[in-house]
């Protein structure tokens, strides 16, 4: 295994383990509070980053160099892993959308309609892809594939906009004496984590641009893997700092806020 593959494997493992930590922490919280947001976000992370990517990566490892974009080399086991991975991932994406709606846009009929449209594109696209390839391969470039991926490439951006908007609002609250540095910082971290999530889906999709040129795909794959792994690590690091903040990070944020207040 080359240095790129080793780095990619370790970074992916760190991403999955870090995401699992955040998901378990949020699901444990939801078991105590019986509140929907922590359940939606914890389940969303578990289904996309842990189960979804985990199963899809297992499928890629089993198929070796054979790409999932081709039906050649598919076995009943890889088809089952691919199906479970895709369904888990898309279910997680749906829960992310419901989380954003529930937290930031509850009662906003137009926003719910937009979320409904995104879910229709996501699941309708997957259904069309299944009809085309029966989970033996990812039918790149078909209508169903574009429909599904149009949501996968963009769903994080909605979270970015809402989280950064709320982060800006929280910063203005110091004017009325409400200073909640950890909560304010959490909106920034979650928005930034979502930026990196979007970047990771985009970089991982770059090879799809060269489907007609396998040699080019082979040439760019190492760079794509390194960038995707780095971006994934940045994403999960932000999630961990946001929802499982270590004591040193709390101290850092609180000290920074205190100094900013004193100098103002």
């Amino acid at each position: 295994m080359g240095i790129v593959d080793t780095f990619h494997s370790l970074a992916t493992l760190a991403f999955v383990v870090g995401s699992a930590l955040v998901a378990v922490r949020l699901l444990a919280l939801s078991a105590r509070t019986r509140r929907a947001p922590e359940f939606l976000l914890g389940s969303g992370i578990l289904l996309t980053a842990v189960l979804g990517y985990g199963l899809l990566i297992a499928c890629w490892i089993l198929r070796g160099t054979a790409s999932t974009t081709s039906a050649a080399g598919a076995t009943p086991l890889t088809v089952a892993l691919f199906a479970a991975g895709k369904i888990s991932h898309d279910l997680g994406v749906s829960l992310f959308l419901i989380f954003v709606m529930h937290v930031f846009r509850r009662g906003d009929v137009r926003a719910w309609a937009f979320a409904g449209l995104l879910m229709f594109l996501l699941w309708g696209g997957l259904a069309l892809s299944v009809a085309h390839g029966h989970f033996r391969s990812d039918p790149v470039g078909t209508l169903g594939w574009f429909s599904e991926y149009s949501v996968i490439w963009t769903y994080s951006l909605w979270n970015v906009v809402e989280s950064y908007r709320y982060w800006a609002m929280m910063r203005r609250r110091s004017r009325v004496g409400i200073v909640e540095p950890m909560v304010t910082n959490r909106f920034f971290l979650w928005g930034t984590s979502s930026v990196f999530t979007a970047l990771a889906t985009w970089t991982a999709s770059i090879p799809y641009l060269y489907m007609a040129d396998p040699a080019r795909i082979d040439a760019i794959t190492p760079a794509v893997r390194i960038v995707t792994a780095l971006v994934g690590l940045a994403s999960v690091s932000c999630s961990l700092l946001a929802f499982v903040p270590p004591a040193w990070y709390r101290r850092l944020v609180l000290t920074g806020a205190r100094q900013a207040t004193e100098s103002a």
């Binding site: 922490r25 949020l26 919280l29 509070t33 509140r35 947001p37 922590e38 976000l41 937290v103 930031f104 509850r106 009662g107 906003d108 709320y166 800006a168 609002m169 929280m170 910063r171 203005r172 609250r173 004017r175 009325v176 004496g177 409400i178 909640e180 950890m182 909560v183 959490r186 909106f187 979650w190 946001a242 929802f243 499982v244 903040p245």
Partner: protein, 101 residues
């Protein structure tokens, strides 16, 4: 989307205590909330109390409202009497809970 109970209460009280119309009262309170980083749909009574104390007096003065301090004191007393259920589902309360603060 519906505004919060605290927002509706303050707007109707402000309209009663001043010569502002309903539209003017709601717009003025909305601007004060925006300046302080709050959303009319989810502002709590506790948060509204702070806005009434620290931001709204200036907004009312800039609109030529008389006795702004007295008006804001009366509004603050009204909003302070509002009892809120335990556990808010506003985004800041949700993110506070999810971070274990």
């Amino acid at each position: 989307m519906a505004e919060s109970a605290a927002f509706d209460l303050v707007c109707s009280s402000l309209q009663r205590l001043t010569s502002l119309t309903s539209l003017e009262a709601r717009g003025t309170v909305r601007l004060a909330l925006k300046e302080a980083g709050f959303d009319a749909r989810e502002v709590s009574a506790r948060q509204m109390y702070l806005v009434l104390k620290r931001v709204l007096p200036g907004e009312l003065r800039s609109r030529g409202v008389q006795n702004t301090d007295g008006v804001c004191e009366e509004l603050a007393r009204t909003v302070a009497a509002v009892s809120e259920g335990a556990g808010s589902d506003a985004p800041d309360a949700i993110f506070q809970r999810m971070g274990g603060d």
